[in-house]
């Protein structure tokens, strides 16, 4: 199982990495923005799961999501939005754009594992 963590906050990636690591998953990649995430995704396929922040510099999460979903090569990649942008309209936009699930910061370790289906 290969996981890509996309968040501009090092702290957030560190928390996610630790929590996912307790499940025995060690094949974890990181990116600080959507552009870097696309590059990491292309270079490291097959990637099983992307945990995706919304607000990031350079390329935000929703742009990454739409770009990745427009490419058939990434159709099997599970993409979970992980963001504090919790208004209903935002959730709807993410799911419509091809996100498989949505988790709201601040999350508990249990909620993260459940939403990832792990």
């Amino acid at each position: 199982m290969k996981v890509l963590l996309v968040d501009d906050s090092v702290t957030m990636r560190r928390i996610q990495k630790t929590q996912i690591g307790t499940l025995g998953i060690t094949d974890i990649l990181e990116a600080g923005d959507g552009q870097e995430a696309l590059e990491k995704l292309k270079a490291n396929m097959p990637v099983d799961l992307v945990l995706l922040d919304w607000n990031m510099p350079v390329m935000d999460g929703i742009t990454f999501l739409k770009t990745a979903r427009a490419d058939a090569a990434f159709k099997d990649v599970k993409i979970i939005m992980c963001t504090s942008e919790s208004e209903k309209s935002r959730v709807v936009e993410a799911l419509k754009s091809g996100a498989n699930n949505y988790i709201i910061k601040p999350f508990t370790p249990e909620a993260l594992k459940e939403k990832l289906g792990l």
């Binding site: 607000n55 601040p106 508990t108």
Partner: protein, 151 residues
């Protein structure tokens, strides 16, 4: 004075501490900010704009910041670690983003966080009152300052 807009930020803070730090925080009575202003060692500040303008900040004594962030990332952090600055910025980002959900009528946009180091006080938006909300938790105390002026 209408301070109802402060409640979503209080709730978001309590939820952050419970979910991501794993302890329970308590809030003490919110106060209108008046001299002498509280001093902090490290603060995270985010600007709010849209249907209202202002800011939300968290001010910490260094000991509290180190203890809370260490627990949150499940690793000891030192006070001169660059990751401590990132963590304080992300905390205020998470709380502001989460609180927005209960303030949709204000259509708020949140800025990127700024983090202030060294002993300091926080100045609010001139013309808008600042509400100071002290919090305590088993890892230490900290304060939230919210200043918001509807357009």
């Amino acid at each position: 004075m209408d301070v109802s807009y402060v409640n979503p930020f209080i709730n978001a803070t309590l939820t952050w501490v419970k979910n991501m730090v794993g302890v329970e925080a308590k809030t003490l009575a919110p106060q209108l900010k008046r001299p002498p202003f509280p001093h902090y060692d490290i603060s995270g500040v985010i600007g709010l704009s849209g249907g209202a303008a202002g800011s939300i900040s968290f001010g910490f004594p260094m000991q509290s910041a180190v203890a809370i962030v260490s627990k949150m990332i499940q690793a000891p952090i030192k006070e001169d670690d660059a990751d401590l600055i990132d963590a304080i910025g992300e905390i205020v980002n998470i709380v502001a983003g989460f609180a927005k959900r209960d303030l949709t009528h204000l259509n708020l946009s949140i800025s990127l966080p700024n983090v202030i180091l060294s002993n300091h006080i926080l100045a609010g938006l001139s013309g808008a009152p600042t509400i100071v909300v002290p919090f305590t938790c088993p890892l230490g105390s900290f304060a939230m300052e919210v200043s918001l002026k509807t357009n």
